[in-house]
């Protein structure tokens, strides 16, 4: 399972990097989103991989750390998703503004001279 997860994170992140380096702003946006997905998965995995383990303790019981998943990375990932979502939306707005103002979706605001 570790191998599958790390491959998945690596491939998604690598695709993100490739897209971020592209000249069109929509590609950059898609790249940033892919990278943030990979990072979110990465944070999640940093709490170790657990199968069938709840992050919460039932009321009235003393928790046994051996059968519980680490809840903190899950909380962190939730925050990271929300913040990433908001900032990406903002980037999208700026992108549309740039498209309207410059008439091109190139990241430099002008078409490269051929």
């Amino acid at each position: 399972m570790e191998l599958v997860i790390s491959l998945a994170i690596g491939i998604v992140f690598a695709s993100g990097i490739w897209l971020v380096l592209r000249p069109r702003s929509f590609q950059v946006l898609a790249g940033l989103m892919l990278m943030s997905y990979a990072v979110n998965l990465f944070i999640f995995v940093m709490g170790r991989l657990w199968v069938d383990a709840a992050p919460l303790t039932p009321a009235g019981k003393t928790p046994d750390p051996a059968i519980l998943a680490d809840p903190l990375p899950q909380a962190l990932v939730l925050t990271a998703i929300v913040i990433g979502f908001a900032t990406t939306a903002l980037y999208l707005v700026v992108m549309i503004g740039s498209r309207g103002l410059t008439g091109t979706d190139h990241v430099d605001g002008k078409e490269p001279e051929l």
Partner: protein, 549 residues
């Protein structure tokens, strides 16, 4: 039992701008005057709070000069802790002073375009203050994002093609840096199991083997994020373009945001990678030293090559960042004090210069043309009133003298604060603590600092000569009091820093002693007691034997 009310002051620099910013959001532009004064009051409140915090930390109210605030009353490694010590209180003061100058400057023009300027400005202050105060890595990320999100909006303030282009790059780079921040934080959590900085400092010495190397990787990735903000070469290419494009009051706050990166690097490297950190001691110092030096070279070269005043200010900020990072990486205790003095002085100098640029620009361009440029696209409900009447007399004399003062401060020539800062750094560099000879790195750093000063003089003089002496028939521009006052205020601060250099150095020496003793910080943060609840639980906590079948 409740918390002494003075302890709640630690939270004020975060809560006040948050509440004021939120209250301003629904007000329409018709309430412009009210919005401005509310915003102004909030900044004055922050100023008073930071002065009070300095008094509390330095006056011996809190043990070891550190005030700890446990958010939601969770004791330290579990909840989020806020830490106000001498350094963070001073940074809060610097932030409030710059904000005051920037906000005053917006009174005539910049605060009148764009409905949500004041809201965003308050949120920006909240993020910066939070980043100075928090003692938790992930909370730091959140405050960074608050600060950045507000700055995205503010860089766009006065919407035109140039600003859009600059902020596209600015946003993309900062989003990528935020991802690095998350990666680093996750790796550090995975290896140490904590996000509290003091707890981290306590656990790092025990790390060994794979965990230690993974931790170092995590710390490096995290440092990349801070250094992107702090504009270390080669991560700082975004900075001059963004500074030159942003409106002057916003650019002033951006200068401070660069220093937030340097502040975090300073704090983390002294706390977590101190000499007592076992295998991780002194990690990354050489990278900081040489990276800082490369940054000085990059900034100096850029300053020499550029013609535009905005970019010159940006490169000035890069030089100051580079000097700071090199000073941090040099790893000598006495140097940190002078470095902190330099941090404050150079921030104020670049900020004053950025505000001045707009006023100087009026000599060159007819005012109406510039206004039209600013509001090219933005649908402004009412045209901002040009500062007419009540103009400042002797505008040209003011502009040229203020420019000369800024040039002296940025270049580090006597008699203003820039010189005192450089003198302090050279004094520390030439007097190694153990009395040994000055190492090659020390000589190189001194040479670079002197050269960068020389280059700053050359490029500032070139700009000054072209603007004030050689621009043909120039007409004295109309300046309004509200635009002149902030520049005078910042220059006055610099004079005050020079006159009061002795007491300021004393305070900074105590501040750097604080951050260089990780054991005290660890002890203070981790043993800070949570308050007992208002009612004791009636049912005793479940004991172990109930669970065993």
């Amino acid at each position: 039992m409740s918390l002494p009310w003075l302890d709640h002051l630690i939270l004020v620099p975060i809560l006040l701008p948050l509440l004021v910013g939120a209250a301003l959001a629904p007000l329409t532009q018709g309430w412009r005057r009210l919005k401005f004064w509310l915003s102004y009051a909030s900044v004055l409140g922050m100023l008073a709070t930071s002065l009070a915090l300095i008094q509390l930390t330095d006056g011996g109210h809190w043990k070891d000069g550190m005030g700890v605030y446990l958010a939601a009353n969770w004791s330290a490694p579990f909840g989020i802790a806020l830490l106000a010590d001498r350094l963070s209180s001073l940074m809060l003061l610097l932030c409030a002073l710059l904000a005051l100058a920037a906000l005053h400057f917006t009174q005539m023009r910049w605060g009148r375009i764009g409905v949500h300027f004041h809201t965003l400005f308050q949120f920006l202050l909240m993020g910066i203050n939070g980043a100075f105060l928090t003692h938790d890595l992930f909370n730091l990320f959140v405050f960074f994002e608050v600060m950045l999100a507000a700055s995205y909006g503010l860089v766009l303030h006065g919407y035109n093609a140039e600003r859009i282009r600059a902020s596209m790059q600015y946003i993309a780079i900062n989003l990528a840096a935020a991802l690095l921040f998350l990666l680093g934080t996750a790796l550090i959590y995975a290896t140490t199991g904590t996000l509290n900085m003091a707890d981290l400092a306590a656990r790092v010495p025990q790390l060994q083997g794979d965990d230690l190397s993974l931790f170092k990787i995590g710390a490096s990735v995290l440092a990349l994020a801070f250094l992107t903000k702090g504009a270390m070469w080669p991560l700082g290419f975004w900075l001059p373009t963004t500074y030159a494009a942003a409106s002057p009051p916003v650019a002033v706050m951006l200068v401070l945001m660069t220093k937030v990166g340097a502040y975090i690097v300073l704090r983390m490297s002294l706390l977590i990678f101190s000499d007592s950190a076992g295998g991780a001691a002194g990690f990354g110092q050489e990278a900081l030293l040489y990276g800082g030096m490369a940054t000085i070279v990059f900034g100096a070269a850029g300053m020499l090559s550029t013609d535009s005043a905005g970019r010159m200010a940006g490169y000035g900020a890069i030089i100051s960042s580079g000097t700071l990072l090199a000073v941090i990486g040099y790893g000598q205790a006495s140097l940190v004090t002078a470095g902190l003095y330099y941090l404050i002085g150079s921030t104020i100098a670049v900020a004053a210069f950025l505000l001045l640029i707009e006023l100087i620009d009026r000599i060159r361009t007819p005012r109406s043309a510039m206004l039209a440029l600013t509001m090219e696209v933005y649908a402004v409900e009412d045209t901002p009133v040009e500062p007419v009447g009540r103009g400042v007399p002797a505008a040209m004399a003011f502009l040229s003298l203020a420019f000369a003062a800024c040039a002296l401060m940025i270049a580090g020539l006597p008699p203003l604060s820039g010189f005192v800062a450089k003198f302090g750094m050279f004094h520390a560099l030439l007097n190694p603590i153990d009395g040994s000879a000055v190492p090659t790195a020390g000589w190189t750093l001194m040479t670079l600092i002197i050269l960068s000063g020389l280059i700053a003089v050359i490029s500032m003089m070139r700009f000054g000569v072209r603007t004030f002496w050689a621009s043909g028939a120039i007409e004295a521009p109309k300046l309004h009091r509200s635009e002149v006052a902030p520049v005078l205020f910042l220059l006055g601060l610099s004079v005050l820093m020079t006159v009061q250099a002795n007491s300021l150095f004393g305070y900074l020496a105590r501040a750097s002693d604080d951050i260089r003793s990780p054991a005290t910080t660890i002890e203070r943060v981790l043993t800070h007691p949570a308050l007992p609840g208002p009612t004791t639980p009636t049912t005793p906590a479940t004991s172990l034997d109930e669970v065993t079948p």
